[in-house]
Amino acid sequence: MSIIRIQGITKIYQLGDEEVHALRGIDLEINQNEYLAIMGPSGSGKSTLMHILGCLDVPTSGLYDFEGRNIAEMDGNELAEIRNQKIGFVFQNFNLLSQSSAYENVELPLVYAGMSSGKRSNRVMEVINQVGLTDRADHKPNQLSGGQRQRVAIARAMVNKPSIILADEPTGNLDSKTSYEIMKLIKDIHDLGNTIIMVTHEEDIARFCHRIVRLRDGVILSDTKQVPENVPV
C-alpha cells in the first residue's frame, strides 16, 4: 500500500530576479515499510524533496498525496498535525533544543500532541531506552557526542509512532563507526515496520537500503531496487 504518491512535483526558488529550479517534475510512489535512499550530487534537490515530503515546505506545482490525502488542500494546522503525528524528521545537524535535556527534546512532540505528562514520561523513557541512552536522559545536547545527539534526534522522530521517518543525511556529520551504529539503529526501526526515506551521499551507507532513487538537477535519474546488506557491528 502506498503511503506517499507524488506526481510532477516542481520547486522554484526566487532569488532576486533569478529563478532556481530545484525540482523539475518528480514522480515517486513509496509503499509501507520501504527503506529508500535518495542520492545525488550536491544541489540536485535532495533536501528540497525531503522538505516537501516532510510537509515542511510546499511544492510550486504538482500533486502530493500523503496516505491518500491531498496535501495541497490542508491548512497550516493540519500540516503541523501531520508533521507531529505522521512524520519523524531527522536532520544532518541534529536540530535539538540546546537548552533542553535529551528527555525534554524527545518529549516535545508529545507535548504538542497534547499528551498528558504521566503518559508522556512512559513513552519518552521507552524510546530513549530503545536508542540506548537511558543513562543520558538528563544530559543537555552539548554534553553528548555527535552519535548520541543523533540518537536523541531519532528518538524524538520516533516518539509519536509516525508512519514514516525522513532522515536528511543522518550520518553526514558522523565518523564511519558511529555512522554504522546509527544505521543499525535505523535498520532496527525499519524492522519494526516503519517506512524510512533517507538522503545520503555515501554509497557505503546506501547499500543498507532496499531501494535507491538518484537525482540530478531536480529530476530522477534512476530508481532501483536492491538486496540490502547487513550493517556490520
Partner: protein, 412 residues
C-alpha cells in the same frame, strides 16, 4: 483540552525564561517603576483619604465654622484674605442672637503660651479662649472632671480644661484635677482633662488648653494685632447645612456692611468643604502620578516588546525546530505571549513589593499616612500582565508566522 495546552505552554515558557534570568531581570525596570508608583500613589492617597475622613468625623455632624482665612488655595488667595477685616465679638453676637437655624453658636480665640507646673513646663501650647458651649461645636469629650459653665465664663474665672498632652507632660503620676498651673504668667485651676484626639499629619491635636473666653480676652488678646475670632455653629437640623450657611451668610454680610456687588469677606469651613478640597487635591495628585506611571508602563512595555523581538530573532532556529516537530502557529504564539506576560508579571510582582515598601517608607519618614489595600496588589499584577500581553502580541505574532524551513536554516 485548551487548559491543558495552556498549561503545557506555560511550562515551556517558564523553562525558557529561567534560562535567560539575568536579561529578564534588567528588562523589567520600566514595569517595576510603573507598577510601584501606581501602588505607592494609590496607597498614599488612600491613606490620606481615610485619614481626612476620620479627622472630619471629629468635627461632628451639623457643625460649621466661620473664619477669616478658611481653606486657602495658594498665595494670591492668602494675600487677598489678609486684607479682610477680622471677625470679632460683633459677628459673634449677631449670629448668636439672630440665627434661627443654630442650636449653639460658640466663639473661640487662640494663642501660643508657655505652661508651667512646679518645675515642669511646655514651652508652647495652644491656649484657647472659648465660650461655655464649646463642647457643642467640638467633637472632643472631657474625660476627667468637667468643662466650665456660662456663669464661670461671665465672671472670668481662672479655671482651665487641659488636653491630654499636658497631662502626659506635666502630671505623669499625679491627678491633675484641682492643681494650679501657670499659663503665660497667670494662674489657673485645672477642672477637667480632655480625651486624646490623636494627631493630624504628624501634629498632635492634644497640646492645648481651654479657658473661658472672657478670661482670655483679659490676659491674652493684646491691644494691637488682635486676632480674628473663630465662630463655631451647631445647627438644629444637620440636613439643613446649606440653608444654615445661607442664613449665616446674610447675617454676616449685614453686620459687615458688604455691598451687594461685593463678594463675601469671610469663610465657612464645614466637613464637606474640607472633604471637597481634599478630594480635589488628591484628584490632581492621582492624575499627575498616574501619568508618570503610565509613561513608565508604556516605556516598560516597549522595552519588553523589544526584548521579545530580540528573543524571537535569537531563537529563530528553535522556532523552526518546534514547527518541524509539529508545533502549530497557535502553540508558538501562545509560548511567546505567555513568556512576555510572565516576564512582565514578575516585573509587576516586584513592582508591588517595591510600591509597598515605598509607601511604608513614606508613611514612616513623613507625616503622610499610607494604606496599602489588597486590591491594589491585584491591580498591579493585572496592569503588568496586560502590558506584557499587549506588547507581547507583535513579537509573538512574528514568531508564529516564521516559515519552518527558513527558520531551520537560520544561523546567527
Amino acid at each position: 483540552m485548551f487548559l491543558f495546552r495552556l498549561f503545557n505552554s506555560v511550562n515551556l515558557s517558564i523553562r525558557s525564561l529561567f534560562s535567560n534570568l539575568m536579561r529578564s531581570g534588567l528588562t523589567l525596570l520600566g514595569i517595576i517603576i510603573g507598577v510601584s508608583t501606581v501602588i505607592a500613589v494609590i496607597s498614599i492617597v488612600n491613606g490620606m483619604n481615610d485619614y481626612v475622613a476620620e479627622k472630619i468625623a471629629v468635627m461632628g455632624p451639623g457643625v460649621f465654622f466661620v473664619e477669616k482665612f478658611g481653606i486657602v488655595r495658594g498665595r494670591e488667595d492668602w494675600l487677598k484674605r489678609m486684607r479682610w477685616k477680622n471677625l470679632s465679638i460683633n459677628e459673634y453676637e449677631a449670629l448668636s442672637k439672630q440665627m434661627m437655624e443654630a442650636e449653639a453658636v460658640a466663639a473661640m480665640l487662640s494663642r501660643s503660651r508657655r505652661i508651667t507646673y512646679k518645675d515642669l513646663y511646655i514651652s508652647s501650647t495652644s491656649v484657647r479662649g472659648a465660650t461655655a458651649n464649646y463642647l457643642s461645636v467640638s467633637e472632643i469629650a472631657v474625660e476627667d472632671g468637667r468643662f466650665f459653665t456660662e456663669f464661670e465664663e461671665q465672671r472670668r474665672a481662672h479655671i482651665v480644661v487641659i488636653g491630654s498632652d499636658i497631662k502626659k507632660a506635666l502630671f505623669e503620676d499625679v491627678d491633675p484635677i484641682d492643681k494650679i498651673i501657670d499659663i503665660g504668667g497667670v494662674k489657673y485651676k485645672i477642672i477637667g482633662v480632655f480625651e486624646t484626639a490623636g494627631s493630624v499629619l504628624g501634629n498632635s491635636q492634644d497640646n492645648f488648653v481651654v479657658i473661658p473666653l472672657k478670661t482670655y480676652l483679659v490676659y491674652y488678646s493684646g491691644l494691637y494685632r488682635r486676632s480674628s475670632w473663630t465662630i463655631g455653629i451647631k445647627i438644629k437640623d444637620p440636613d439643613r447645612m446649606f440653608e444654615a450657611q445661607e442664613e449665616a451668610r446674610s447675617i454676616l454680610r449685614r453686620v459687615r456692611k458688604i455691598p451687594s456687588n461685593k463678594e463675601d469677606d469671610f469663610s465657612f469651613i464645614s466637613p464637606e468643604a474640607v472633604m471637597n478640597f481634599f478630594e480635589e487635591f488628591s484628584g490632581i495628585a492621582f492624575i499627575v502620578l498616574i501619568g508618570i506611571s503610565s509613561i513608565s508602563l508604556v516605556v516598560g512595555g516597549i522595552v519588553i516588546m523589544n526584548i521579545m523581538l530580540v528573543s524571537v530573532t535569537e531563537r529563530t532556529k528553535e522556532i523552526g525546530i518546534r514547527k518541524a516537530i509539529g508545533a502549530k502557529r497557535g502553540d508558538i504564539l501562545m509560548q511567546f505571549l505567555i513568556e512576555s506576560v510572565l516576564l512582565s508579571l514578575f516585573g509587576g510582582l516586584a513592582g508591588v513589593i517595591a510600591g509597598y515598601l515605598l509607601s511604608q517608607a513614606v508613611a514612616h519618614f513623613s507625616p503622610l499616612p499610607s494604606a496599602v489595600k489588597p486590591w491594589t496588589v491585584f491591580l498591579g499584577v493585572a496592569v503588568a500582565s496586560s502590558v506584557g500581553l499587549f506588547f507581547g502580541i507583535y513579537p509573538a505574532w512574528k514568531a508564529s508566522k516564521l516559515d519552518p524551513i527558513i527558520a531551520l536554516s537560520y544561523e546567527h
